[in-house]
Subunit: 347 residues, 4 copies
């Protein structure tokens, strides 16, 4: 932590800063220029709350030098993390394909969609039984009934289930059915929910797929993961799904954030999954978004598919039909091979 | 709702659209140009889910003409809403001042701060007992102990309490102490929490102060209010607190959204409160931000104050000392008088 | 300038940094922690280009401590600047009203609009003869013919002229007619144009109204002003007109940036003008946006008005009719009086 | 064009709209619901200025259905464009690599850098002689001297030159040396400059590389291209280089917009080039950004390279050394092959 005092800050204020540093059991390095004093803090800075420094009136700026997140940072834990779900391995060079409908709509739709997902060779099956929707008048999901259809589809195909938990009192019910808990973009900053999920899964360590909030900074995203890790479950996959910028709307649903894939891979050892369906909001863009994300180094993709996209009750416009999914998987696997052969990345 | 078909869309697709409209019990008006077909939907459009139309392949765009929110819209309910808390009236031309510390830190700090709030003549007392923080290592609030201090301060000063609910299983405990429930910016899109709060307060109709998510569109903000209203509690105050844009960071904490005050006043009859403390993140800007928000037509302000800003455990940098609060209130009241005398707005 | 080296940076890299500092005639203060080295640069840092430091591989981050702009900064020149145009004074507590049509469309329209502007008591007359339009098929302005009508209107009413220069080879022609040169938002980062305007006006020191680019940071905005000042003309007014964010579109044209008014007033002594017409894009919001900007401490307003808003060839939707302009001016003057009486700001 | 009237708009206002439509020689289709009237305009809508409709007071919204740009749109001209520079072909399935230093700094630096660019097998040589910099105190480029070094490097290596025009009065001098004119991100909305470049190159039809403004919407980007095309030069390459969002700063310089590559390919037949250097601002991200852009369907890359990145006077942090460039080119070519073999895109 570096503390920049205001020009001509009072000696008294400088002393206040030094006192708080020493109260936290840390030591300081004071650098005094003509009109400027800079204080460097030495030691485990997480012991010192920056806000307690910032509010001293002579302080101009406090610059955090080390990361506020710890367990999930590569700085603290340099290895690539590996997540295992039955026979499936995610991370450390293993690529994973997750697919399925946005929402579970009926037994038939779920089963037909799951069969497509199985046929094209995906590893995990997704489907939402609880749907967080912008309007209270939109379809909110089938609830536990949906989870049952999902389970049936999972048992028939052998594909493990990824499904979303939308609130605290849904955790128990979702845990009865899910193999991976998904936390959606709208809840990435619902810290109470994150903590509860961390607590409830600290023993089972069931993997959590955490989606980036559509306006979350990278620091906030990794802090959200840290909330879960701190409670005892570090089996976290980070999922990018597009952000909201001035660009969104007419041509694309979100601004695709595949550029953040290599940044996350550098900052953390957690696997990074990309969602081309929500990033684009348009099935005709899913092929190129998937290819780009794989080329950028993603550890997996989560793609919406539907047995009959035109009747989907949710996000049908961005769902792939089977032939599109086949083409997408094939291209992505080939690009992935190039990366491996060229030793493009560290895995 | 207006549906624009793609250039040279198949007749079959047009028919699909018309079928879905009639299945929803609505009627359609088809306008056919040289290469373009436009379909207008007539009737209660909330009965028709736009996503079911969008996913038909010949459809280019679906434009919602009426609002997706209903109960909270002026279109549906044109009157200004009035919220009563004991002898205090909010909305319909009544101006309200809410103040207090960001977080309850101790009995002494809460009591001293509350006495300032009382002395300067504010109407309601704020203070956070549960704090949603970006990092799990930051101060998370005193919990129920904090609520007790808040209650004691409220009883001594006679000021009703505004305090935040951060998660579903905190609702009951907060309801034991609060006069107004606050929903924070990070939870504005936690729809499960919104629904639960709506359900639990549908009888008491305790007022809810809903903060805008820092990247929420106006439509999303009003939809979030609609989630609460739909469950039975329409006693909602909308609170603007700055948004996140490319501008944030070096000079200001957020981009102040006081420009949305008159937009909300036009779209809805709910009272609109402005938070100059979080908008600016800087106590030296609170005076001008408050003055601007009042001039723009806000129905109230929520301002952070602290008995000793330099020791605040949270957001001390943006907390006012007593003399600054006095100056801010005085200026705001004078501007408010001008607005009334000039009949600037409809109240 | 503070230079943070990467964790365990090579001693060689640290030496490289120190060499470049001393080559620039500056001295350094090295602070070495357990695994971290911080270097503070002492002296006139504008002599050292940060990019020459950043590219050394052991460098993690370079933090500019002093402003990159100098002539226009309060740090360098703490006084409030005053701009005089005939008998009109702008800045140092003097408030100015600028009004007129977006574009000059015809002699009649310009004269009628100017008479309104005169009648309501504005100080300066605006009108665009060269119009920078997003589409090449939109109305591009009347050119010099427009400037002549503007001049005639100015002579009849006695109001000095504010008009835009859209390109380098328009500077001469505009200088023949204008009393204030306007630089539009789209050209704020056309540095060649800024330099040319600075050079051409260094003797006359004709005032320049510089609009903020709709995605310019505050640093970029002040750097743009610095480009002009550096060539010899410091008679610059800064004009805020809304920025582009995720919020823009459905309800407002831009995100109003009145929150930046007090920030600019703190960073620089230049007068700050606010444009409620482009900020909102909606005549029904101009009253509240104007009131808010005045309350926030603006030194003036620039408001679009039109003798017949419904036939305006450009931005008619945001132009005020005479009665709305009267109401807006009246309210703003009253708020301004409150600010003076309350000694709200330093003027 | 679709015009939505306000609820219960006066019949008189509807008539005004219809009059303006017929004055423009177009016909209208009126659709009247219970309280809502929708007017569809039939014919060549570019003849009707939307602003003349919007300002009629009973009009609620005007929705453009066809594109405001014409010459550069696929709707108007469905074929893929091909650009030829000597023996090099760009577009229609031909992939191009452009590389070189950000700025020309000296004869030696330019020659050494050009030899790298040649050795690694790039097609075109970039280098800036005129540099648009945020601060007037930053290095502004060598001017014509730089162009001469660039020419010498081009003659030695046989690589055609891509270099930036920063202002109107630089066009002539740059045309003496350049094979491709670059328009930078800061000037994308300098319409006077765009028009002048279009006029001056309408006979030679020298290719123009137009960079997207960092806050330009896709519509604005294509309108900027239209400005040039309308003057007579349609040999335009579109270049994406990252946009400014809330994300920029700590981890990346810009938000990479490779997600827009397939959108542009759909909207226009012009070649699309991606700039991984400015998108990331970090040489360690250039490999993955390049791979992603190629996978997304880019027609070419423009990558900064430098003979000695650590001494670069501009953007050294994002410049590649030779070995990194070799690795990047190799990976990109392999991914490109996959795309061709898999017939991923239409070329």
């Amino acid at each position: 932590m570096i503390i920049k005092m205001k020009k001509n800050a009072a000696q008294e204020d400088i002393q206040k800063v030094l006192n708080r540093i020493s109260e936290a059991g840390l030591s300081a390095n004071v650098s005094t220029g003509e009109s400027l004093t800079i204080i460097g803090v030495i030691g485990d800075v997480t012991l010192l709350r920056p806000d307690l420094i910032e509010e001293i009136s002579g302080v101009d700026a406090v610059m955090r030098v080390s990361r506020p997140y710890k367990l999930v940072s590569r700085e603290f834990n340099p290895v690539d993390r590996q997540i295992k779900i039955g026979s499936i391995t995610i991370g450390t060079g293993n690529f994973v394909m997750i697919s399925g409908p946005c929402a579970v709509e009926s037994r038939e739709q779920m089963l037909s969609s799951a069969r497509i997902v199985k046929r094209v060779g995906a590893d995990l099956l997704r489907g939402g039984a609880f749907k967080p929707r912008t309007s209270p008048y939109d379809f909110q999901g089938l609830g536990e009934e949906g989870l049952k259809y999902l389970k049936e589809a999972s048992e028939e195909t052998g594909l493990p289930i990824v499904t979303e938990v939308t609130g605290e009192d849904k955790i128990d019910i979702v845990l009865k059915y899910a193999d991976v808990l998904q936390i959606g973009t709208r809840n990435m900053r619902s810290y109470d929910l994150l903590k509860k999920i961390g607590e409830r899964t600290k023993d089972s360590k069931i993997p959590v797929l955490l989606k980036r909030g559509d306006n979350a900074t990278i620091t906030e995203f990794l802090n959200a993961a840290e909330y879960i890790a701190k409670e005892g479950n570090e089996n976290i996959m980070l999922c990018l799904r597009g952000i909201r910028t001035f660009e969104c709307g007419k041509f694309v649903r979100n601004t695709a954030d595949m550029g953040i894939i290599p940044v996350l891979k550098r900052e953390t050892g957690l696997p990074v999954i990309f969602d081309p369906s929500h990033s684009s909001g348009d099935r005709d863009l899913v092929l190129s978004y998937s290819a780009a994300a794989v080329a950028a180094g993603a550890d997996g993709l989560i793609i919406e598919t539907h047995c009959d996209p035109e009747t989907a009750s949710c996000d049908g416009k961005q769902s792939l039909a089977e032939n599109q999914l086949v083409q997408t998987f094939k291209l992505c696997r080939r690009i992935r091979e190039c990366l491996v052969q060229e030793k493009a990345y560290s895995w």
